[in-house]
Amino acid sequence: MSLESQELSDLKSKIGREPTSTELQIVAAEWSEHCSYKSSKKHLKMLPMTGPLVIKEKGYDSGVLDVGDGYVVTAHIESHNHPSAVEPYGGAATGVGGVIRDILSAGTRPIAIFDGLRFGNIEKDQQARWLFKNAVTGIADYGNCLGIPTIGGEVEFDECYQNYALVDVAAVGFGKKENLIKNHAKKGDLVILLGGSTGRDGIGGSQFASDSLESEDRSAVQIPDPFIEKLIIEAILEARNEKLIHAMKDLGGGGLSCAISETADALDIGIEMDVEKVHTRESDMHPDEIMVSESQERMLIVTSKIKLKKLQIICKKFHIGCSVIGHVKFDNYMHIKKGKKTFANLPTDVVANATLLDLPSKKPVYLDTIEKEKKLKPITDYSKLMMKFLASPNIASKIWVYGQYDHEVGIRTVTKPGRDASVLRLDNGKFLSAKIDGNPKHCYINPREGAIGCFEEACRNVVCTGAKPIGMLDHLQFGSPKDPEIFWTFLESLKGLTDFAKFFKIPCVGGKVSLYNETPAGPIKPTPVIGVLGLIDKKPSIPQKISDNDCLVIIGDTKDELGGSEYFEYVHKFIGGKCPVVNFEDSKKNMFSVLKVINDSLVKSAHDCSKGGLAVAVSEMCMTNQIGCKVSLEKVPGEKLSVDRILFSESHSRYLLALERKNLKKLESILKKNNVSFKEIGEFGGYRIQFTNSAKSIIDLRVDKAQKTWLNSLRDLVLHG
C-alpha cells in the first residue's frame, strides 16, 4: 500500500502537514486507479451521459433509466479480473456480489445478471480450463443462491489472456421511481455499517487490482458469502419500503475508506466514525486494517436516530450485523477515531478526488503493418472445416455455461439465454432486452473501429428481439496506462464509443475502467465490453419456430473485413488484416428497418451476423430450429469476394431474417423504401445445412450432427480436456 512520491507531496501540501499512517492507508486506497480513475477520468467525460430517460442523482453507483409508468431500470457493470485470475471461484463470485450491491444502493431490486468471461486458450492450456471452470461455478453459486437470474453474457478465449482472466459482471435492477434512494443527510444522522463482519480478507484488494499480477497479494483473496448477501438484499429492500434510508453506498474496492469519503464528498457533509464500533471478525484488527478491509457483503447506510430502531428490528429479523459506526457532521471532514483517539482527520474532497493524470499517448507501432494480409493456405473441404469451426471454443454453444445459471428465477425471463439478447418482462407491461459484447481480436487490430463494433453488436443483439436501444454501459479493460501505446488504444476506443453513442443518441448510463491488466506475457489486447439495454413497448419478438419453405433474407453488405475474425485467427492462425468498420448511416438504416419489420410481425425470427460470419449465423439458426437451409452465396449482397470471405467475413450491421414466404413481398417493399441493402439468399427446409456458390456445393452438413457437436464441444473440452 503506498502512494507515489508525487502523490505524497500533493497530499502533504493539500492538508498542510504530515499524514498519519492511517491517513496514508486511506488515501492510498482511495487514490488507487481502481477507486479514483485517475488515469481515465478526464477522458471519460467525453461520453454522453444524459438523455430524456436518464435520471441523475448524486452518489449513485449505477445508472438509472426511466422506463415509464413510474418505474425505473438501473444498470451497472464491474469486473473482478485480478482476484479471479488467482482465485477464480471466489473472485468471480464476489464480482457478482459487488455489482449487485451497486444496484441495491439506488434502492432497486436486482433482477438480472450478465457475465462476460475471457480466458486463455482452453484447447491447449490446462490452467485456462481450471480458471474457466471455476469462474463459471463461482458465478453460478453466487447468482443462483441470490435468486437473481443470470440471463446472458459471453465467453471468449484468446492467447492474450494466458494465465489471466477477465471476469466482467453486469447487473440490472428494477423498481418504482418513488422508491429511489434520494441520497441526502441531515445533521445528526447516523452512519451505519450493515451486513457481514469486517475481517482481514481482501486487504489491499483495490491496489491489487491496479498493480500487475506479479505482485500477487495473497491477502486479497475474498471468500464469497451469497447467503448473507441475499439477507442484505431483503433487509435493505424492506428498509427502503419503510423509508428508513437517507443515503446508501455499497462497500467495494477500498472498503470503508472509499465508502466514507465518497459518501461524505457526494453529500457535501462530514462523517465522524469510530473503528471500535465496526463489527469485526477478528478481535485484534488495527484501525488501518479496518479502514481498508475489502470484506464483502457490507453496506453503508445513513439514517436518522429515530429510524434506527426500525432498521435494527429488520436486521435482527434477518440475523445480519448492524453497527452504528459514526454520525454526520457539517465540516466536510472524515474523522476516524478509535474510542477517543483520532487516527485520521481529512477533508473529504481531498480524499475523494485524487489528482487526475493526463497521460501521454502514442499510436502503437504494430498498427502500421497489421492490415497486411499473409497468404492463406487454400481450404479443400469446407464441410470438414465447418464442423471443426462449430466445435471451436469461441464458436461452440455456451449452453454448458448458461445451463448452470438459474436464468428463470424471478419469472421474468421471456427470451432465455441462447438467443441474441435475453428479454425480461417488466411490471408495467413493457419488456427489457439486454446483452453485453466485446471483441478483443477486432480491438487489437483497430481499437477505435473494434470498440464501435462491440457497441454495434450489442445493439444488433438487442434489436433482434425487437427492442430499441435506450442505454449503454461500457467497461474499458486495458493494460498499463503508463505505456503510451496502450493509453492510445484506450483513448481511441473511448472516442469511437463516444461517436457512436452520440450519433445514435444512446446515453452511457454507467461503466467501469480496469487498467493494468497485464499477464506474465504482456498486456492483454484492448478489451472494451459494451452492454446495451433495449426497451420494447409492446410485445417482444419471441422467435417462432422456422419451418419448411420459410425464406432467409440478409440485411447489410458483406465486405472484405476478416481482420480479427475467427476464420483468420482460429483456422489460419493469423492475427491481422482489415478490421470490420461500422458505417454509421447504414447501421442506423439497418437497425431501424429490422425494428420496423419485427414490429410489423413480418418475420419469424431475426438473428445478427457476428463471430464466425454468415456461415456460423446461418448454422446457428438451423441448429436452434433443427431445420436445414440452402443458401446461395452468389446472392449475398456486398463486395465481390471469394467464397471463404463471404462465408466468414465479420462485417457489421448484418442481420438474418427468417420469414414465411407470404410476407416476403411486404418485407421487400419496406426494405426497398428504407434504401437498405438486402437479398433473399436462401430457403429453409430439410435436414441439411447447405451453402452453394453458383450451384456448386461448398458446405453440406447434417443439422443434427452439427448441432450435437456445437452443443457439446465446450462441455467436453472443459471436462475431458
Binding site: E87, Y89, G199, D201, R218, V221, I223, P224, D225, R281
Partner: protein
Amino acid sequence: MAIYDVHVTIENKPGISDPEGDTILNDLVLKGTQKTVSKIKTAKMLKFTIKEKDKKTAQSKVQEICDELRIYNPMVSKVTIDVFDS
C-alpha cells in the same frame, strides 16, 4: 508395492472465513439443545486408494497430484495429507 489409504483434507487457511461452518454453528447447532460447541469449521476430504512402494511415496505422490491438478487452490486452502495402511 502396497496399497495405502491417503486422506487429503482441504480447508480454508486460518484467518480466511468459513461461512458454511458459521451457518451450521449459528443456525443449526446452537439452536439445538447443545450449547457447548464454540466453533465449527468445514473441510472437504478426498480419500485416495493408491498402490506405492511405501508410505512416504504414497504421501508425496498424492501431494503431487493435488498440486498438479489444482485439486485445491493454495491461495485459499491448506491441505493435510494423512497416509494409512489399507
